[in-house]
């Protein structure tokens, strides 16, 4: 198998070029199929304003012609392909990594382990995530070693030849269990509760005491993947001045560059990051993943190195949406006004912090809902577990808490015999309302949105 592949690589590159008939049949770069370039010159509208127009996207035509170049569509001469070996075990000490057999494989150009990474930690708020694990594995999707080879297939086969010896450790998978004092620590000696937020406004006890009814409910949500259609992809290459260029599917290149420079211990001006057009982000491409790996493999081999996540890695080794357990207690008057609300949120933080602090903050601030409530207490905890990393995803905890506060609202409405639209209008923010953090709100149109949606839907007409 390996021999066959080796021949393949050779034939496709060197030999193919030497054989004149082959070179004719398989041009190194096929001329692109012609397309109507004239019409690419935009038809210019003479009028302003520009704002408010349904202007066409400048990238729209390229997308439709298949001409947008995403990272995986780029190739460079001599480029190698990298793959990362995943732990497959949720919590363990790494006793030994033997890469010798993989390194001896024909077609393998370099192998990288965590110990070779100059600063083996990163993260947007806490730097608790290793690029490749060196001493300990924190979740099953962790990388433990990487290979650069002449083809992706050889790289994948080489991963099988890397032997990692683990000493399994007890894994903690449930956030409520992980909060207990005697739970195994994910990042010992640190507590599993790695961030906490509290918001207090008014007098909660007084609010509950004045309420005619008190409702309590627990809601929970699941772990969700971003599923960008384009898997994470990165290419690293160096010039002879020791300057690194990284092409990568990153939504935030400025801070990506900071993280790459930090992990590689390089001055920032030695790092050049290009993101081209990213094939879907939704929060999942807001931090570095394999960029330092391709950079170091490129340095070791002196050749450009590309790595693309498989769809499986996209699930196991990129970030996901936080599952949240949400406890709501709400006191209301007979006519459906919310007088007091207490919220407790428990976020499953996964193995690393990632964007959890931001998610914790937004979920906590937004959890009382867009309602005028005099007496509020919202408290949120984010807890390490030996599971897939949870991080930024479209809404930073807001879809989860909205599910809870709006389900709760309907249950209250039904119990009081008030129409769900009406109970919301009775409580909704208006211009100048004060948020649970004491902020005076401006350009508030939640009532307008309720009324317009109800009218458009025909809410009154569809009433039974």
């Amino acid at each position: 198998m390996n021999d066959k592949l080796r021949v393949t690589e050779k034939e496709l590159t060197q030999e193919a070029l030497r054989d004149p008939t082959e070179a004719l049949r398989v041009p190194v770069v096929t001329p692109p199929v012609p397309y109507p370039i004239e019409t690419l010159v935009p038809e210019v509208r003479q009028q302003t304003p520009a704002v408010g127009q349904r202007a066409t996207r400048p990238d729209g035509r390229l997308h439709g012609l298949g001409q947008t170049r995403y990272i995986d569509d780029l190739t460079f001469p001599g480029m190698l392909h990298a793959k990362i070996k995943r732990a497959g075990i949720a919590s363990a000490l790494i006793k030994r990594i033997d890469t010798s057999e993989a390194e001896a494989m024909p077609g393998v150009m370099a192998v990288l382990t965590g110990r070779e990474i100059p600063v083996n930690s990163f993260g947007p708020s806490l730097q608790d995530q290793p690029v490749l694990c060196d001493e300990r594995v924190f979740h099953a999707g962790d990388g433990v070693a990487a290979v650069a080879a002449v083809t992706e297939q050889i790289a994948l086969e080489a991963l099988e030849k890397i032997k990692v010896e683990y000493e399994p450790l007890p894994a903690v998978l449930d956030p409520l269990e992980a909060m207990k004092d005697d739970a195994p620590k994910v990042h010992p000696p640190a507590s599993n509760i790695y961030s906490h937020k509290i918001i207090k406004k008014g007098d909660l006890e007084k609010g509950f005491a004045e309420s005619d009814h008190i409702f309590e409910a627990r809601f929970s949500t699941q772990m969700v993947e971003h599923v960008p259609l384009e898997p994470h992809a990165s290419i690293g290459m160096w010039d002879s001045n020791g300057r690194l260029t990284v092409y990568s599917s990153l939504g935030r290149i400025t801070l990506g560059r900071t993280d790459i420079a930090r992990t590689l211990r390089l001055p920032i001006n030695r790092v050049h990051v290009v993101a081209t057009i990213v094939g879907g982000n939704f929060g999942g491409k807001n931090e570095i993943t394999q960029e330092p790996v391709v950079a170091l493999l490129a340095k070791k081999t002196g050749r450009p190195v590309k790595a693309v996540y498989s769809r499986g890695e996209e699930f196991t080794s990129s970030t996901t949406r936080h599952p949240i357990i949400m406890d709501y207690k709400t006191g209301v008057s007979r006519d459906g006004r919310i007088l007091a609300r207490q919220v407790k949120l428990y976020l499953d933080g996964g193995a690393y912090c990632s964007w959890s602090e931001t998610t914790l903050g937004k979920a906590c601030i937004l959890s009382p809902g867009p309602y005028n409530i005099e007496n509020v207490e919202a408290e949120a905890f984010v807890i390490y577990t030996n599971k897939t990393v949870t991080g930024a995803m479209r809404g930073f905890g807001a879809p989860q808490v909205c599910f809870a506060y709006e389900s709760h609202m309907d249950d209250i409405a039904k119990a009081l015999g008030i129409d769900p639209l009406e109970i919301r209008l009775r409580n909704a923010f208006s211009e100048g309302s004060i948020s649970p953090t004491g902020q005076v709100l401006h350009s508030v149109v939640v009532r307008e949105s309720l009324e317009r949606a109800a009218e458009r839907y025909g809410w009154q007409e569809s009433q039974s």
Binding site: E43, Q46, T48, P49, A50, V51, G52, R54, A55, R57, P58, I89, A90, H139, G141, A171, L173, I199, K201, F219, S220, T221, Q222, M223, V224, V227, R252, I253, V271, V274, I277, V278, G280, N281, G283, N286, F315, T358, I365, P370, T388, G395, P399, C402, E406, P420, T437, G438, Q439, H442, S443, V446, E448, S449, A453, A454, R456, Y457, W459, S462
Partner: protein, 348 residues
């Protein structure tokens, strides 16, 4: 039997980071023919930032959207930007872009003022012209002014600016503070059919009324809302990463992790709520993330309305819905009060 229900959910959502600085910088260069180039460090990830930022720069310069070419996503070329995150591009990078364009425009006005015999503050830029306010017949093409600025005055019309949303840190004990510069609001109403024998849910229709401040490009706002709803449907009914008892994922593939396809999408009616935020570029706020915030809540309320059963944990799979229906029947304390009408056979 299929039972129909409707559910409503509203939400609020902030623009930008929680307290933390999240600045954007931008550079606008007006070329000698009156076209312009915008440099931004944000990244086009599908949301349409290249288009929206071009429209903002064009509006400020009084040129057409197509006159502005946007260069993005290259750390060697483009100024720093916190990136495509937290629904912040239109508001934060948009403000930086407008300010940068304003500075370039100021250079053009300084050059044009003596050419038109007025003060710079008496000028405005519209329809690719620099003209005297209230006397639009006294005008010069922007191309002529830009050419003059560069080749005669030696003052190339370039502007750079940055913007960081103002916030006040939250008190660690009480959480009191101003964590965000602005918020958007929205309501979605879902209509569903629930099969009370299988627990299967079909989302038929979603009405979405969203506030984004000024809609810089209504077509792209609609696209964001439609896409956000599809993600919300996945969260509500289908998607879940499952683990075995050892902490390994069971379904890390698109065969067993079910996300919405074209067959799962309901009829969507988008409504953009008129709104203007004086702190945003031309009144704009943002729209990316909030579009998927109220969808799951609206669908779950519609399920409750249809069959009187409350599902407390997402996703509301057929098994969970059926279990909730059975539980609500066993409790027997209530009939199915939310059920308005049963539909015989397939929905008409």
């Amino acid at each position: 039997m299929k039972r129909r229900g409707r559910g409503i959910a509203c939400m609020w959502y902030p623009i930008g980071f929680t307290v933390a600085a999240n600045p954007s910088a931008a550079t606008v260069k007006v070329n000698e023919d009156g076209t312009a180039t915008l440099l931004t460090g944000t990244v086009e990830t599908g949301q349409g930032s290249l288009t929206v930022l071009a429209q903002i720069a064009a509006e400020e310069l009084g040129v057409a959207t197509e006159d502005v070419h946007v260069v993005s996503a290259d750390t060697d070329v483009t100024p720093m930007d916190t990136g495509a995150i937290a629904s912040r591009t239109t508001y934060v990078t948009g403000n930086a872009t407008r300010l940068a364009a304003e500075k370039a425009k100021a250079i053009l006005f300084n050059v044009a003022a003596p050419m038109l015999g007025v003060r710079p503050d008496q000028l405005e830029a519209r329809d690719r012209k620099i003209q005297v306010k209230r006397f639009p017949q006294r005008q010069l093409p922007i191309s002529q002014v830009a050419h003059h600025a560069l080749f005669v005055k030696g003052d190339p019309p370039i502007g750079s600016a940055s913007f960081n949303p103002p916030t006040v840190a939250m008190d660690p004990e009480t959480g009191q503070g101003l964590p965000f510069a602005t918020y958007v609001y929205a309501t979605q109403i879902a209509e569903v059919d629930v099969d009370d024998e299988t627990g299967e849910v079909e989302v038929l229709r979603i009405v979405a009324s969203h506030d984004c401040g000024t809609a810089i490009n209504p077509m792209l706002v609609e696209g964001q809302i439609e896409g956000g709803i599809s993600m919300g449907i996945g969260l509500a009914l289908q998607e879940e990463i499952l683990f075995d008892d050892k902490g390994r994922q069971i379904n890390p593939n698109l065969t067993n992790y079910i996300m919405p396809t074209s067959l799962d999408m309901p009829e969507i009616e988008v409504d953009i709520v008129p709104s203007y935020d004086p702190t945003g570029p031309f009144g704009a706020k943002g729209v990316g993330e909030p579009t998927s915030v109220p969808t799951a809540a609206a669908i779950l309320n519609a399920i409750h309305d249809a069959v009187g059963a409350r599902v407390h944990s997402l996703p509301a799979t057929a098994e969970k819905v059926l279990a909730a229906i059975k539980e609500s029947r066993v409790q027997g304390t209530k009939q199915l009060p939310g059920t308005r009408r049963a539909i015989a056979g397939p929905a008409a």
